[in-house]
Amino acid sequence: MIRKIVYSIFLATIVLSLVMFFAAFPFGQNKMSVGEYYLNHGVAQTGASNIVTSVVVDYRGFDTLGEVSVLFGAAAGVAILFFVLGENRRKRREQVAPNFIVRVGSRIIFPFILLFGTYIFIHGHLTPGGGFQGGAIIASGFLLLYLAYPGTTVNRSRLSMVEGLAGITFIVLGLYGLLMPESSFLYNFLPKGELNALLSSGILPIIYIAIGFKVAAEFAGIIDDMMCEVICRGGEK
């Protein structure tokens, strides 16, 4: 009981100090310094109409590369924990098969989910959305497949091949920019095209599609690991 009171006072102090600190930054005011530059010059420099996409992929593309590798590390960590360090497996548990309506419905809906995710990450430079969101939507489509058909397996080697190809595409496109006369990583060497056309803004859509495939493969791998752990058939392959 005394611990709760002490920690509550501690947390109240933290909240109060945060309130006092943020009194210097009033809500809704224009506080931009670098953002102004991106908003004013982003369309002319990258050709993407979604400025968030041009910041994520172009201006801070190196940051995104690091982020994708962190994602790979986490997915590999889950796989290592469950498959290498895991204890010996218990018996396969009884699975309650889902009913007819769920199976047929998921079979109808699954291609549409894939189509929607693909649409999201192909139009990432024009509309809200992009590789991360589209990849997550595709991974949730795979999740639906797992829930409807408990015996489903995803081909793990094919999954890791997709993931590796996407990562290699990102890095090769970035390194190719070093050969250009401007010589910077992720230099946009393809023609910009016109604003709001699908084939515009150079290499940004290609990189976002690669990110989408990579995120989808990572999350599908994580879900596959955990579902294997539930059904207890992971060791058989």
Binding site: V96, I109, F112
Partner: protein, 114 residues
């Protein structure tokens, strides 16, 4: 004409959504509440999305697709939820007279799976 049809569909959908929420409060047990919240909400959302599509002809195709997905997903999800609830043994209201699911699932199965 277009305006009349669009607003009629919007109000029709709103009435059904209200009835669904009302039934969620008033009905006695889980199964009847689920029925109220699924059937009337599916029809209400369908009608109101179509009404928006008719009021704004630019969005008609998008609204049609949204309505189609509502029609596809909501009954599937609610049927899975109901089945799980019946299998885990959520009790029926004591005024219930007909229980067809009992012979369909088998009597020994009820309350056993967890």
């Amino acid at each position: 004409m277009r305006l009349i049809l669009g607003y009629f569909l919007l109000y029709f959908g709103a009435i059904f959504l209200f009835l669904g929420a009302f039934g969620l409060i008033r009905l006695p047990d889980l199964y009847t509440r689920m029925q109220a919240s699924t059937k009337s909400t599916t029809l209400g959302a369908f009608a109101s999305v179509l009404g928006v599509g008719i009021l704004h002809p630019d969005w008609f195709v998008k609204c049609l697709v949204v309505a189609l997905f509502i029609l596809l997903t909501a009954p599937v999800g609610s049927s899975a939820l109901m089945r799980a609830a019946y299998k885990t043994g959520v009790p029926l209201d004591e005024r219930t007279t007909v229980d067809d699911a009992k012979e369909f699932f088998g009597e020994e199965e009820k309350g056993e799976a967890k």
